[in-house]
């Protein structure tokens, strides 16, 4: 039986659809209930929903053999896991944004508000820019508006929130999408099962493209 951690929310539901189409369905997950774990003995899978940012933790610690997490979460927490497949779902980008009239003159330490301090630090280290990280847990867009930061590093999907708040993307850092990840120890003991799921999902992802 393979334990699979799915991210709660719209992305998780799309990801489950993909598992279902790949032949690893679990009908009880569609039923309305307060159950936390859903199992299908026939297909040998057990799903559970977890907070998206917790998926890599469940997988790295072996509570889940497989999981689906955004590339943003994987880069931020750097879990020691295998990243087997880009599912091409939940596509967005990690970007630097600021007020439209902001221009970085590189004369002082740049104040960066973000939920992703590791990604932001790595990006600015790469371009040799001295920064001060302000770690926030939500409503990142407020930071430059209220003068808490000069820029933000955050996920941008459509850019609507930025536009409505008079902000704009100043630089793209990297594209983001959902990835299938596996625990390294589980992979050693269930290589065939994990390989079969990965291959079937890969075919579907190719077809959907």
């Amino acid at each position: 039986m393979l334990n699979i951690a799915l991210p709660k929310g719209r992305l998780g539901e799309t990801v489950y659809d993909l598992f279902e189409r790949a032949g690893f369905d679990c009908p009880s997950i569609r039923e309305k209930s307060r159950k936390l774990i859903f199992e299908n003995e026939k297909t040998g899978v057990r799903f559970f929903w977890v907070k998206p940012s917790d998926v890599p933790i469940y997988v790295e610690r072996g509570a889940a053999d497989l999981g689906v997490a955004g590339k943003d979460i994987i880069l931020e927490y750097a879990p020691d896991v295998y990243e087997l497949l880009d599912l091409g779902l939940g596509k967005c980008r990690m970007a630097v944004a600021a007020k439209k009239d902001f221009h970085d003159e590189n004369t002082k330490t740049l104040r960066v508000a973000t939920k992703f301090p590791n990604i932001a630090s790595t990006y600015y280290e790469g371009i040799g820019r001295d920064i001060d990280i302000i770690k926030l847990n939500g409503s990142i867009e407020l930071a430059p508006i209220l003068g808490l930061s000069d820029v933000i590093v955050d996920i941008v999907e459509t850019g609507t929130t930025l536009r409505e708040n008079d902000l704009e993307v100043k630089a793209n850092i990297l594209p983001i999408s959902a990835r299938l990840i596996a625990n390294k120890s589980s992979f050693r003991f269930a290589a065939d099962e994990i390989g079969a799921i990965t291959e079937k999902m890969k075919e579907l992802v190719k077809t959907d493209d």
Binding site: R61, G62, V81, Y82, D86, S185, F189
Partner: protein
């Protein structure tokens, strides 16, 4: 009887340590005992070789900076000397002090392992891998040993590009079995699709020793490929063949490690419990000419394995009071113990004590 007694009295970690000592001794490895302290400087100079880069440091009474050992191998290398034609084969089980990955605080960790230092040849590598497999089987039957060869990976990458940025990015992708980001890296650095395909074959490789010839037939006949072929042939004929696989996503720091590297896994433990390989680069960095191969087993991780619960703490609880004759209580308790059962004598039943049988002597008591 002796084994039953050991099972009852010893913890899993203690049983494993005794089994490993016996195993390594039978292969002619000598015990290596060392001080808990080491010169701090040794770790500052070789941070990348260690599992973590932080150590507990302090000033000795003479002002010298010392550290509680976070690693054993460095001390063994430093403490030895090169004797051409000879081999030093040692084993150890020691406590080391490292930052825990989970709590991010220092933790005392028991580590066992062995090192073979000298003119290391294929036999020594095979013996070390065999002992790694036997060490895992001393803990449980359900284990896997994964072997890689750093030469194969570095040869393949250097054929494709010499750009350090590409090599760094591609190595990370191979270590994560991440073919999609490897493709992005290859596109970014102008690597051809045939070279990408070749790297993908390495990234995805996961084969048993008996399948090595088929896998190697598609690769250039490099020294690394030949070494893999010879080791795989030896392992294919061993009793552990079905527990061993070759997987080139297993990587290590090429400044320290070279040739074969390996990791061991036990079902029920989320990370590798055994790690080892050839570390000639490390030897050279510490001024040694000899070659070396060895491994370490992280015994603290065995806590994650389920230990069968006996269900009780003591077989018999004897209750007595001041009215009982102490000699009578002692005689009754000793009689129970002589029959092979454990026994404790108390005045009252402790809230958390789990016992099989209660014998109340208080009613039999008489005033002395």
């Amino acid at each position: 009887m002796r084994k039953e007694m050991n099972d009852a009295v010893l913890t899993r970690e203690e049983r494993v340590v005794f089994a490993l000592r016996d195993l390594y001794r039978r292969y002619g490895y000598l015990p290596y005992r060392m001080s808990k302290f080491e010169e701090y400087e040794l770790y500052v100079r070789n941070k990348e070789f260690m599992v973590g880069d932080r150590v507990i440091a302090f000033n000795d009474t003479n002002g010298k900076m010392l550290a509680l050992k976070p690693d054993v191998t460095l001390s063994i290398i430093k403490g030895g000397e090169d004797r051409p034609g000879e081999k030093q084969k040692v084993y150890y089980d020691e406590n080391v002090y490292r930052v825990s990955k989970s709590t991010h605080r220092f933790k005392e960790i028991r580590q066992a392992g062995l090192e073979c230092i000298g003119d290391v040849d294929l036999y020594d590598v095979f013996e070390t891998v065999t002992l790694a497999a036997k060490s895992l089987s001393a803990i449980g039957d359900d284990y896997r040993l994964t072997i890689s060869h750093l030469g194969l990976l570095t040869d393949a990458l250097s054929r494709v590009s010499s750009d350090p940025a590409f090599l760094n990015e591609a190595s990370g992708c191979i270590a994560g079995k991440n073919a999609h980001d490897l493709k992005t890296a290859c596109d970014k650095f102008g690597v051809s699709s045939s070279d990408y395909d070749a790297l993908c074959r390495l990234l995805a490789a996961n084969f048993a020793p008996k399948d090595a010839p088929a896998f190697l037939s598609s690769l250039p006949k490099t020294g690394a490929a030949q070494e893999i072929g010879r080791l795989a042939a030896l392992l294919a004929a061993s009793p552990y063949a079905d527990k061993i696989c070759f997987d080139f996503s297993l990587t290590g720091d090429v400044n320290y490690y070279n040739g074969f590297i390996f990791k061991g896994f036990l079902r029920g433990i989320a990370s590798d419990v055994l790690s080892g390989g050839q570390y000639d680069g490390m030897m050279e960095k510490l001024g040694r000419k000899a070659r070396a191969v060895g491994f370490a087993l992280y015994l603290d991780l065995l806590e994650a394995l389920d230990e069968p619960d006996a269900g009780y703490d003591v077989d018999v609880l004897l209750l007595y009071n001041e009215a009982n004759d102490p000699a009578d209580v002692a005689e009754k308790a000793d009689g129970i113990r002589a029959a092979g059962r454990s026994c404790t004598a108390l005045h009252a039943i402790p809230e958390k004590l789990r016992y099989r049988e209660l014998k109340d002597l208080r009613k039999e008591g008489k005033t002395c």
